[in-house]
């Protein structure tokens, strides 16, 4: 089928002096998936935007590219856009036009390219939505993008892209903005579509797991150039280039060792009892209880809507708490206000997800780091403060020259180090990390995790690590909590929860994470068939929160909500009516 082969030779994209893409060549045959992996700034998206003719006006595109008989560069991509070549993007919420109905947006290319009239096009749109396994198709056709969930929006985007039978689909980070269980569904869908339509798929991603799940061949990019190009098994098992090796080494793995649980029982530092957070009709956190020992790391995992961030804010007393108790270092802190609450701040600190937004752009780095000292150690003189700041900068691995700079001039990783320096300057006994590494490139992520590990080890700081990324949690946390729609569904030693999950949701989560094993990964994911997505917190299912999606649900599950009970070892708990039966 050589009429639909994509052949790219010596492609370059530059913006004046800046070379975004330099000398890239590859071919992609129909029915195959080419994965393009790299970190931010690698130029992976630019390659394909150039092929589509979608780069900014001031970009200079050089080189040759042909899809079958059509010359892409010369034609400016316009002849093939939306027809032979289609592209889907990372964020389905902002990538769909907010004021047009889904059905109309899918029908549009049919009307524009095939000359169909609208009623016929809409019928075809319904058929397309069926092919992408959308639920309730007639209703979806008439809905607007904001009424759909993330996974549904991405399915709609795929349907839209396939409307005119594209022979090449370019997917730019298609699952990055989605929950991991939804990601598994979309990856399975893409895999099926390549097979049934004989389509070529160019998959751009920063995630090795996604590569392993879908790609036949892999192209590794860095700074606009291709550093390695081989088939997926070779890349994952015996990478040749050191950058690829570094990327793989930095990628957190599901089979990596977890920190061993401490031998003797350490004293409990933080005790959380039946904490709930309610916003008008929305119950974000529902009766959560757990304990964190001195110097221990506790992971809180969950997808969107799980309430994990709300919980972390509540226990830091930065967000509201409607019910329950938080006992920190023996003191009940849930009702503290004003000055008493303020004095508490030197023992518990937090690091946020967005590194750039965590630092005041109007303040110098030194001022940012010194702020807790100014607020809580008013007696300290300027000189002494300066010394502390310099020491902290060194501790987090930053040169002293950073002190006078401002946050907009720093990279994401550097900002996060500053945020950690600020958090640790008072020597707190608890550090809450709310998705602290989720916005960072994989290699930077690894460095920050190392830093956090060191802090935990050397200073004996307790860590509450909130994340949706299970592999990252493994590395830092001795114990893990799994949350769904505001409730804890399972908790226990990380090793046990990961190796022997008792709750159907935990199983689903763990299974959805792509393994870095190219053999059989595709089939494994396809066999998963996870159902649906997390419902909105405004419409919580009756009884067990997970029953609407649970393959093992029975009538009893809809009647009442199970409490946590011990499963096996003493510290392993699960909230499921049927855990015993399902374990066998």
């Amino acid at each position: 089928m050589s009429d639909h082969r994509l052949q790219v030779e010596n492609l370059s994209v530059s913006y004046g002096e800046l070379r975004a893409v330099e000398d890239v060549s590859f071919t992609l045959a129909p029915g195959r998936c080419l994965g393009i992996i790299g970190e931010s700034g690698a130029g992976k998206s630019q390659v394909f935007l150039a092929l589509m003719g979608l780069t900014a006006a001031r970009a200079t595109v050089r080189g040759r590219a042909r899809l079958g008989a059509t010359d892409l560069i010369a034609a400016g991509g316009e002849r093939v856009r939306g027809r032979e070549v289609a592209m889907i993007f990372q964020d389905p919420m902002t990538s769909l036009t907010p004021h047009l109905r889904i059905g109309d947006q899918i029908a549009e290319p049919l009307v524009a390219h095939r000359g169909m009239d609208w009623s016929d096009a809409r019928i075809q749109a319904a058929a397309l939505l069926d092919q992408v396994r959308m639920t309730d198709v007639p209703q979806r056709l008439r809905q607007y993008p904001h009424e759909l969930s993330g996974g549904m929006r991405q399915r709609a985007m795929i349907a839209m892209a396939l409307a005119c039978d594209a022979k090449l689909l370019i997917a730019d980070e298609p699952t990055t903005a989605l929950d991991v269980s939804v990601q598994a569904q979309i990856l399975a869908l893409l895999s099926e579509l390549i097979r049934t339509r004989g389509m070529g798929l160019a998959l751009i991603t920063h995630d090795m797991g996604v590569i392993a799940a879908l790609a036949d061949e892999v192209m590794v990019m860095r700074n606009g150039r291709v550093v390695e190009h081989a088939d997926v098994a070779r890349i994952l098992e015996t990478p040749a280039h050191e950058y690829t090796q570094a990327l793989l080494a930095a990628t957190p793995r599901m089979d990596a060792p977890t920190p061993p649980a401490a031998g003797e029982r350490r004293p409990t530092a933080l005790k959380v009892r039946e904490v709930s957070v309610r916003f008008r009709q929305l119950l974000a956190v529902d009766g959560v209880s757990f304990e964190v020992a001195d110097g221990e790391g506790l992971g809180i995992v969950g997808e969107s809507g799980s309430g994990k961030s709300t919980l972390s804010r509540a226990l830091m007393r930065l967000g509201p708490m409607s019910a329950g108790e938080v006992v920190w270092l023996g003191r009940e802190i849930g009702h503290l206000k004003g000055e008493a609450l303020r004095q508490l701040r030197d023992s518990m600190q937090i690091v946020f997800q967005d590194p750039l937004a965590s630092l005041d752009p109007a303040m110098s780095i030194a001022e940012c780091i010194a702020e807790p000292l100014r607020a809580l150690r008013p007696a300290m003189g300027a000189e002494e403060r300066q010394q502390h700041v310099t020491r902290m900068l060194a501790d987090v691995g930053l040169d002293a020259s950073f002190a006078s700079r401002r946050s907009p001039t720093l990279s994401g990783g550097q900002c996060q180090r500053v945020a950690i320096a600020r958090a640790m300057i008072l020597g707190p006994k608890l550090l809450v990390c709310d998705e602290a590494v989720s916005a960072l490139d994989v290699s930077i992520q690894a460095q920050i995790l190392e830093l956090l590990e060191r802090i935990k080890r050397e200073q004996g700081t307790s860590l509450v690590f909130v994340s949706h990324n299970l592999a990252v949690v493994r590395r830092l946390c001795e114990r893990t909590l799994v949350m769904y729609l505001g409730r804890v569904v399972e908790s226990g030693p990380t090793e046990t929860v990961f190796r022997n999950p008792r709750h159907p949701y935990t199983r689903l989560l763990l299974d959805s994470v792509p393994r870095l094993d190219p053999r059989g990964e595709r089939e494994r994911l396809a066999a998963l068939a996870p159902r649906g997505e997390t419902p909105s917190a405004m419409h919580r299912p009756s009884g067990c929160v997970f029953q609407s999606r649970c393959a093992a649900a029975q009538p009893r599950c809809a009647q009442s909500s199970p409490e946590l009970e011990v499963a096996g070892e003493e510290s392993h708990q699960v909230a499921c009516w049927r855990w015993r039966e399902l374990a066998n």
């Binding site: 027809r83 993007f89 964020d91 902002t94 990538s95 036009t97 907010p98 524009a112």
Partner: protein, 307 residues
């Protein structure tokens, strides 16, 4: 959607009530009364006049009486133009004022949106850039400067339109006043539209629309126009109200017999019922404009519609 609109209309009543009450008491705070400007009157005659118009009653009683009459649709007598009721005076000039106002508003919106959209779509065009910069003058220069200048140029040096006065049915008299009135808002709308559309054209869903291979026209009008209008519409409520109530300036400059002059003159004369009547009319116009803008907003952005 209809229910939402109806509820909003009903919600106007309390605001109008506040407006009426506030105005009633504030204008009476000013020193002086309605009969001070005339020849010096003897105290006895003054007392009779006051009594005849109910001005000797305590303020709250006057207020109550006014509200009662209002509910019956009676705006009261003019204190200055003693042979006329307020509704007669206002009614004489209002049609003309509204015509000028609405025409100017329509002109401003159409020209502004169109110019702004084009300027965003073709950022390189020198003609458009020049027009938008020139429109800055429209924003800055007040109507009472532009009006006379336009009258000078198009009414005296090149007599294309008629100025000074009005003959019913003769549109030529209205052209310059309408343009004068529309100019500042058109200029502002054009710039706002251009800035807004520029932002929209950079968004992800426009990239998707282009990636679908849709023709440029379709991308602009079907995908980019409505979101671009959103900030413009928020401004349009007060802007249209500004135009319609601001017709008094062009009426003064061009000598048109509209109702605008009654507002200021009435305040200076302390002709309370007349001023109250004008305030009521203008208040209703403003609130209706704001309401329409709100409803339009809902149509443009499905996310704010009541589910």
């Amino acid at each position: 959607m209809l229910g939402y609109a109806l509820r909003r209309v009903v919600g106007l009543v309390p605001t109008l009530f506040v407006l009426v009450t506030l105005s009633f008491f504030v204008i009476r705070l000013a020193p002086g009364g309605p009969f001070d400007q005339e020849q010096v009157l003897s105290p006895a005659i003054r007392a009779n006049l006051d009594a005849a118009y109910g001005l000797d009653q305590p303020l709250l009683v006057q207020y109550g009486r006014y509200l009662g009459a209002l509910v019956r649709g009676d705006l009261g007598p003019s204190l200055r133009f003693k042979d006329y009721r307020v509704h007669e005076l206002i009614g004489r000039g209002l049609p003309l004022s509204l015509t000028i106002g609405l025409a100017a508003a329509a002109l401003a919106v159409v020209v502004g949106v169109w110019l702004g959209a084009l300027a965003a779509w073709r950022p390189e065009s020198r003609v458009l850039k020049g027009l938008i910069n020139l429109s800055l003058l429209g924003v800055i220069l007040p109507g009472f400067v532009v009006g006379p200048l336009l009258a000078l140029v198009f009414g005296i040096y090149w007599p294309v339109f008629r100025i000074a006065g009005y003959e019913p049915g003769e549109v030529s008299f209205l052209v310059l006043p309408v343009i004068t009135l529309a100019l500042p808002v058109a200029a502002y709308v054009a710039r706002m539209m251009r800035d807004s559309m520029r932002e929209v054209l950079r968004s992800n869903y426009i990239r998707t629309a282009r990636a679908k291979g849709l023709p440029a026209r379709v991308v602009l009008w079907r995908h980019a126009l409505r979101p671009s209008l959103i900030p413009v519409v928020s401004y349009l409520g007060p802007a249209v109200a500004f135009i319609i109530t601001g017709s008094l300036v062009v009426e003064a400059v061009f000598g048109l017999p509209g109702s605008g002059r009654y507002l200021v003159q009435g305040a200076i004369d302390r002709d309370y019922p007349l001023v109250m009547g004008m305030i009521l009319v203008y208040g209703v116009v403003t609130l209706v404009c704001n309401l329409l803008a709100d409803l339009l907003y809902g149509w443009l952005d499905p996310r704010v519609r009541p589910a």
